[in-house]
């Protein structure tokens, strides 16, 4: 897993609530058996007319050249619905390293963290502040300090992340590395349960 410490970037504002994982990556693209190449189909049906890559929808943010960057900012309840990790893979493969919202669905949040994509939960007020600034403004996400800052206005907010996950992200190791080192404890747990 790639590590993530501090990121300053422009952002893509997606002012849509309840963005479900079927929108992030429609099911017909889940037939792959690898984790790569999903970025081109990110938000596929919001991005293109009739599934045609030569017909981008002008009103969708990913097709608007003024917006770019490694941070996606979305309205509340981002990532609801299916548990497909392909949603996190497609966001990462497209080039986003951070997703900001005022509310994340649980499974998506875990999936993102397990792939080194940082979900940053901000207050509704702060989310509106981000949406209010221009396309050329940048955000800075500092994982060590657990802060997100709008650089033009200087407005800043703390965000929550548990210290274990924070260490994982800062160092680029994952839960499986941790669990593989716990085998003896797990075997002891099994033994104890079988005896009781």
């Amino acid at each position: 897993m790639q590590s993530l410490q501090k990121l300053t970037s422009r952002f893509v504002p997606l002012r849509i609530e309840n963005v479900d994982t079927d929108q992030i990556i429609p099911a017909r693209f889940l037939k792959a058996t690898t984790k790569t190449g999903f970025g081109k189909n990110l938000f596929r049906d919001w991005r293109y007319e009739n599934d045609d890559e030569t017909k981008p929808k002008a009103d969708f943010v990913l097709n608007q050249s003024q917006y770019s960057g490694e941070i996606l900012v979305a309205a509340k309840n981002f990532g609801c619905g299916s548990s497909r990790e392909h949603a996190a893979w497609s966001i990462q493969d497209y080039g986003f390293k951070v997703v900001v919202s005022s509310f994340f669905a649980d499974i998506f949040k875990n999936n993102a963290l397990n792939n080194g994509v940082l979900p940053v939960t901000v207050s509704d007020v702060f989310l509106q502040e981000i949406f209010a600034v221009g396309a050329d403004d940048t955000l800075t996400v500092d994982l060590e300090a657990q802060t997100i800052t709008i650089n033009t206005t200087g407005s800043s907010e703390k965000f929550e992340i548990n210290s274990y996950k924070k260490t994982c992200l800062l160092n680029g190791y994952d839960d499986i590395d941790y669990l593989l080192n716990m085998k003896a404890e797990i075997e002891a747990f099994e033994k104890k349960r079988n005896e009781s």
């Binding site: 984790k35 609801c80 548990n162």
Partner: protein, 466 residues
Amino acid sequence: MGKTLFEKIWDQHVVKQIEGGPSVVYIDKHFIHEVTSPQAFSGIEKRGAKLFRPKQIVATADHNVPTLHQELPIKDALSKFQVDTLIDNCQKHGVELYGLGHQYQGIVHVIGPELGITQPGMTIVCGDSHTSTHGAFGSIAFGIGTSEVEMVFASQCIMQTKPKVMRINIDGALKNGVVSKDIILYIIAQISASGATGYFVEYAGSAIRALSMEARMTICNMSIEMGARGGMIAPDQTTFDYIKGRLFAPTGADWDAKLSAWKQLYTDADATFDIEIHIKAEDIDPMITYGTNPGMGLSVRGTLPTTESFKDATEKQNYEKALQYMGLKAGQSLLGMPVQHVFIGSCTNSRIEDFRLVASIIKGKQKDPNIKTLVVPGSQEVAKQIKAEGLDKIFADAGVEIRQAGCSACLGMNEDKIPAGEYCVSTSNRNFEGRQGAGARTLLASPLTAAAALLTGKITDIRELI
């Protein structure tokens, strides 16, 4: 202080509490399927690790399979490769597979319970958000991502932050024509598609106790549609009677020991919940959704909200976006609106009781000539039972074909899809944009309401037909 049902099972499975972090939770049963497992198998191989407890894993092929002519090779090359990869992986790693052609094959959340694999007090995971279905047996069951599938492969454990607990009490008697699907659609409409995010939900109350196991599964299945990590119902005599005698159910002295442990699985009287909700069963009508998330539902006799009722600008904009996608108008009624498709199936409503309900409505009648149907049993066992009870004849006489087991048109992944712009009354669980195929317009409802649409060709209050 007493413990909730959730806490009792959770505490029994915590191997370790990481300071300032998640718990390491032991998993009793792990279900896998072709779509969310291949990257986990390749991940584990890349690490040079082995599956830790392959005997605690059960695999099936369901999402990506055709529902006609399953005896022929799968036509779509990518789908075939994915299903073949599951076969290879299961062989290589010693995992039991109920694949295509196997007598136990079916939707993962249908076969687990019907084979008696799902039992009270267990922790159960699967790379599928509707794993919450198994909570109907009083187990902690929830959907996970592929990294977490790999985690369980590697260690039979998962890292999880302990969720908060919510209890939803439904008391009283259901009205005629109202079934468990209506209960859960009503709850989600009340608390919204994100109303239970961060929570594990226990469903309780006299209306829940009165339900069959299959009806309880329908309710727990859709817990994720209000954002809940999972849903569960305390096991009782209905649960024990359902499990007893099933293929993988305990027998003899083992049964007696398990049964006495299962009887301890209830929320203590003095246990507390972070949130408690009370619902009167008699307030629930047959329900239908009108929008693009399962929280956008109403009584089949209701009218859509007006745009003025949304105070928040983003919410209003989202409502208008949903109406535009669905081709509906604010303030309108759905009653009498023509539809083109009816889908009966999915892990929500594809069990034998669902087929009995539909058969009771369509018996001796003809489907509306304009309606196209996708009627799909949840498993080979359900399909067999349909024949054994002669229900297949009732469907055939009504002009309705019964297909072969799989997820079918629930998710627009396999061959079964709804065309763009057309309406489908669906017994499945999600009405997201494009869920049943790009541009498809999904109206979620119970098997009874689906049967009514099948006969009349339009949105109909089932109570007019019974």
